[in-house]
């Protein structure tokens, strides 16, 4: 069901500083900065166990309580973004870069390579990727580097498809045809015309994939994959407190999960904000 209005080419409109963008960015900045500031200011270390203060509910001394090893949850929750954010940025970023490059390449080539890449992406999607991720990581080394690679791997198809479809659309537009007719070389075409046009949706997707990536990382950690104790990471913290949920010590899993949700929320909000900023005119 369509409208007959002409579709405008989007450009960075007057909605730059809309609420979702600002709040999202703000929250992320808060988390990132806090991951260094809070541990520096706290008397507790995020990784040194303190069994005498184990399983304490939230108090003024331990605002978020302590876990089974006596670790202060407040400090750990705030230090976790060092892992959660960095790993995910690296993984999704790597996947995005590779995906965009492949997208441009397959988008430009006519015929077979493009179709094949789409079929391959289709097949990749048919697999239970979480399972494969777990398999890849646990069996080739249960460390964070492999998690980065896995995150990259699963993000490649997304960005590939996105970029390729943009390239295909832009390629058919008149000004590109004209540019080619004028004798512009392909690389110049790519950099000056294709990429800037595809940038918008890619950035939006990046934000969304970031949110998703954080959930994935936490999920993997919850299954004991990738993150080692006692490194503070939200997913593994939730794991530590999981069995305690049924015995009443709710704070151990609650706060890391809350922080996790806030982070994902922030990235999704940011994506919304970027998308809104790209809209022409008020909606």
């Amino acid at each position: 069901m369509s409208r007959t209005e002409p579709g405008g080419r989007r450009h960075w409109g007057p909605n730059w500083l809309n609420p979702p963008l600002v709040i999202g960015l703000g929250l992320i900045a808060l988390l990132a900065i806090g991951s260094y500031v809070v541990p520096a200011l706290s008397q507790f270390d995020a990784e040194i166990a303190n069994p005498r203060e184990a399983l304490q509910p939230p108090s003024s001394r331990h605002p978020f309580g302590t876990d089974r090893s006596g670790l202060d949850i407040f400090v750990r929750v705030f230090q976790a973004p060092r892992i959660d954010l960095t790993i995910v940025v690296m993984g999704v970023g790597l996947g995005a870069v590779i995906g965009v490059v492949l997208g441009v390449v397959t988008g430009f080539s006519r015929g077979i390579p493009g179709e094949i890449s789409m079929r391959v992406a289709d097949i990749v999607q048919a697999f239970p990727l979480l399972i494969l991720a777990i398999a890849l990581v646990s069996l080739s080394g249960n460390n964070l580097t492999n998690v980065v690679y896995v995150l990259a791997f699963v993000n490649v198809p997304v960005f590939l498809r996105l970029t390729r479809s943009r390239v295909l659309t832009v390629r058919e537009q008149r000004f590109v045809q004209a540019s080619i007719a004028l004798g512009n070389s392909t690389p110049r075409l790519v950099f000056r015309h294709i990429l800037p046009n595809s940038l918008g949706p890619t950035i939006v997707q990046f934000g969304v994939s970031m949110g998703y990536g954080i959930l994935t990382l936490a999920g993997l950690a919850f299954l004991g994959v990738g993150v080692q104790v006692p490194t503070p990471e939200w997913g593994s913290m939730i794991l530590t407190g999981a069995s305690n949920m049924t015995t009443g010590q709710w704070w151990i899993s609650l706060f890391p999960g809350l922080a996790l949700s806030v982070a994902v929320f922030a990235f999704n909000l940011l994506s919304e904000g970027i998308e809104k900023a790209r809209e022409v005119g008020s909606k």
Binding site: M1, S2, R3, T4, S282
Partner: protein, 273 residues
């Protein structure tokens, strides 16, 4: 002169968004006599579509009529509730729009869609409905009625689709047809066909037509009367011959000169010299 079928007086319309409120129409007057075709011309943004939509009450979100009256026959349309207007639309006043292929609902075939329209206004049994649909499809000049009735919108060509749209707008027997740029999206030959169709329909089923267009040529050929609009106001109106051959307003003159008619007028003036 007999009572006009449609009479618009002092119509003022504003559109309110979250932040501001913009006045779109500043007191529009319009008269359409029964059985006539009235052209509403102007450039994009002159408010002609909004006027048409205000008449049938299909305002965009935030749209509000702030003053004026719209009288259809002996009924005050602005005083009606939405439920009452729903009865008017389709049964007393039909409306068609620019792009026929998007106007038709893509997921039902023509027969079913038209059947839905009939069901909302007339109390007919299935056989009567089918007969009426076929009759109206034939009325709009469709030869292979069976095929078109069973077809989905995407299977029809542009011209065929617009005929189906007109059939759907008229199937419940309205006496006024509002056509908002009905031929703008079509090929030139099809445009002509559709306009001829509308003209013939006028004669066969006593139809008054309000046609909105930016094409003065169409107005010159098919309309009895016209109104020229600019920036939410009616600049000039009257019988087509007098306005186009002897315009009084500057804007009208410019419009004529800019269109294909300009040439004709210059020639006539030269001939009169």
């Amino acid at each position: 002169m007999t009572d006009p079928q449609l009479s618009v007086r002092g119509l003022e319309l504003e559109i309110a968004t979250r932040r501001t409120s913009t006045a779109i129409l500043h007191g529009v007057d319009l008269t359409l006599a029964t059985g006539h075709m009235h052209g509403l011309v102007g450039e994009t943004g002159s408010g002609k579509s909004m006027t048409a939509r205000s008449i049938v009450g299909l305002l965009p979100p935030g749209g509000r009529v702030t003053a004026g009256s719209v009288t259809f026959g002996d009924q005050d349309l602005l005083a009606k509730t939405e439920a009452e207007m729903r009865e008017v639309r389709g049964a007393a006043i039909g409306m068609v729009f620019q792009n026929p292929r998007t106007a038709l609902y893509p997921m039902l075939n023509i027969e079913n869609q038209m059947g839905n329209v009939i069901k909302s206004h007339l109390d007919l049994d299935k056989a009567e409905r089918v007969a009426r649909i076929r009759e109206h499809l034939g009325l709009v000049g469709i030869d292979d009625v069976d095929r078109v009735a069973k077809a989905y919108p995407h299977e029809l060509s542009g011209g065929m689709a617009q005929r189906a749209v007109i059939a759907m707008a008229l199937v419940c027997g309205p006496s006024l047809l509002v056509a908002d740029e009905p031929t703008t999206g079509l090929d030139a030959t099809i445009q002509r066909q559709i306009l001829e169709l509308i003209r013939s329909l006028q004669k066969r089923i006593t139809l008054s037509v309000l046609i909105i267009t930016h094409d003065l040529g169409v107005v010159a050929q098919y309309c009895d009367t016209l109104s020229v609009m600019s920036e939410g106001r009616v600049v000039e109106d009257g019988a087509v011959r007098s306005v186009l051959l002897d315009p009084t307003e500057e804007y009208t003159k410019r419009l004529i000169t800019a269109s294909d008619l300009g040439y004709i007028r210059t020639k006539r003036l030269a001939a009169q010299q």
